[in-house]
């Protein structure tokens, strides 16, 4: 079984892989952890509404308010509509994000987020029930603002922006899931997500399956911790979504 690869220059038989000692240069600690302190997360208030837009099939409003921050966004679902062009045995989903905020995110970023969301909902919506049709989802970011007006230097401002787009994603997922459920479109499960440290993880099946993973920046060694925090948030959002849908039912 000792097949030698003669195309490569191999080292002597007793060679060991090189190992480097840990770098001693000091890597500046990132402050992104401080931007979303754990205390704030637990005190975050979430309010959910569905079915308030008349001319679409389903809609949802998500408002999140924590001590120093307030976010609200609206999702609307249109369809299933007929598509033109070649035959598709499954439905297709398109998601568009529209920024109603004070010019914070460039279109590239929003497109990235919407394609990320599309990836999630392609695996969550029961697409095989919708041949030859398309489902259009529009997300409108209405409000995202720090309530505290402490002066910040430019550097931390830019950090805020980069961490905020990831902090919006879980709310986008919550609102789209609610809007789809409101539209009566078949979903395999209620998708939800949590955000920790610029990392967004989206779950289904009670946190047993991951349907989406987004990472902006931040440290990579605490990935498992991020995962746990995301799952915690997901469970909270999911319970809220279900109670919202059930309240509406009764």
């Amino acid at each position: 079984m000792n097949v030698q690869d003669r195309r490569r220059l191999l080292g002597p038989g007793a060679a060991k892989p090189m190992a480097f000692s840990n770098t001693t240069t000091h890597v500046p600690e990132k402050k992104s952890t401080d931007l979303t302190p754990k205390g704030n997360e637990s005190e975050q208030e979430l309010s959910l509404h569905t079915g308030f837009i008349e001319n679409c099939n389903g809609s949802a409003l998500v408002e999140a308010r924590s001590l120093g921050h307030q976010t609200s966004l609206i999702s609307a679902v249109y369809g299933p509509r007929s598509i033109r062009g070649s035959f598709t045995s499954q439905g297709t989903i398109s998601i568009q994000l529209k920024n109603g905020l004070l010019e914070k995110y460039n279109t590239n970023e929003l497109k990235e987020v919407s394609s990320f969301l599309m990836g999630i909902f392609n695996s969550v919506v029961n697409l095989s029930r919708y041949p030859k049709s398309g489902i259009d989802i529009f997300v409108y970011l209405t409000y995202d603002k720090d309530l505290t007006n402490n002066p910040q230097d430019d550097d931390s401002q830019s950090k805020m922006t980069s961490s905020q787009i990831s902090s919006l994603i879980p709310h986008c997922i919550t609102s789209i899931t609610l809007a789809l459920a409101d539209a009566g479109i078949e979903l395999v499960d209620m998708a939800g997500a949590g955000e920790a440290n610029g990392t967004v993880v989206s779950f289904i099946k009670n946190g047993e399956e991951i349907v989406g993973f987004w990472k902006d920046d931040g440290d990579d060694e605490d990935l498992l911790e991020c995962l746990d925090r995301c799952k915690e948030q997901y469970n909270r959002y999911r319970d809220l979504m279900i109670s919202c849908l059930m309240n509406q039912e009764t």
Partner: protein
């Protein structure tokens, strides 16, 4: 309900409703419940303690409904006479302690909305969301364009599959149905998609599919006119743009038409290929659906 499983009353997407199978032993007889996922549900695999399990899961918000799938008379007869059918099998080889085994198929479905909130609990939602045209469905269409080979139509509504005993369509199996659906017209759901925006599902009725007799001599212009409302059946999902439809049945064809290319009043079918305007008495040719 003749099953032992405790179903949840209200479901939401991702809610586990029941396992794929259930068993019960009653009077020395094994009853196996085979739960079949119906509309609004899906059979989904779950990992539990390292094992893969399948469970019927809700995909809609609504009330859970389960009903036994009735066997046809033929099957029941066979079951009565023959002990070794698929439905009933002796489990043990020894004839003394024969355990009889019955398989019950139970259709589990989730209907959107609550029992109270729904006007008629037998119909699906009032839009295309859970009601896309499928093969074999009856649809109401409007003629948009004619050519020598085909009529192009847009699909306005799909006749819902489940229909109650007392309401016309399908009550006697695949029997004859009044044009326009008779009293079953309530089961027609009008699409929310506005036809003005070109958002509707489109269909094609090929000249061969207009009627079942003399089909190679069909003149499309003598069967339909633009604007006619046509009741048709879906033959296939067709290509990307069009569903393929047929009117080759007595109860399918034009149900509403205006005289003089839409300028006159409504006409009534006088026979299977003639419509008359009661005001002017003028007649026009159409492929009419059987009016009564």
């Amino acid at each position: 309900m003749a099953c032992n499983f405790q179903f949840p009353e209200i479901a939401y997407p991702g809610k586990l409703i029941c396992p794929q199978y259930g068993t019960e032993n009653k009077d020395g007889e094994d009853i196996i419940f085979n739960y079949v996922p119906g509309p609004g549900t899906k059979l989904i695999q779950y990992e539990h303690n390292g094992r893969t399990l399948e469970a019927i899961t809700a995909t809609l918000v609504g009330t859970v409904k389960c009903e036994e799938e009735k066997k046809t008379d033929q099957e029941e007869e066979r079951e009565g006479t023959d002990q070794s059918t698929e439905e009933e099998k002796s489990v043990d080889a020894s004839p003394n302690d024969v355990t009889r085994r019955t398989v019950k198929n139970i259709l589990v479905s989730v209907l959107p909305g609550t029992e109270k909130g729904r006007k008629t609990n037998k119909y699906a939602n009032n839009d295309f969301a859970n009601n896309l045209p499928k093969e074999g469905d009856i649809v109401l269409t409007r003629v948009t364009r004619l050519s020598l080979q085909r009529a192009n139509v847009e699909i306005l509504a799909v006749e819902d599959k489940p229909s109650p005993i007392d309401s016309g369509i399908g009550s006697n199996g695949s029997g004859i149905v009044a044009a326009g659906g008779g009293s079953g017209a309530a089961t027609f759901s009008v699409s929310q998609a506005s036809s003005d925006l070109g958002e509707t599902f489109r269909g094609i009725i090929r000249s061969q599919d207009v009627r079942s007799t003399d089909r190679d001599r069909v003149k499309v212009i003598e069967c339909f006119k633009p604007g006619d409302i046509v009741r048709a059946q879906v033959l296939s999902l067709g290509d990307g743009t069009n569903y393929y439809l047929t009117t080759a049945r007595n109860d399918l064809g034009v149900v509403f038409a205006r005289a003089a290319n839409g300028a006159g009043g409504l006409m009534y079918a006088t026979d299977w290929q003639m419509m008359t305007s009661p005001v002017t008495g003028a007649t026009e040719k159409r492929k009419c659906a059987k009016p009564f």
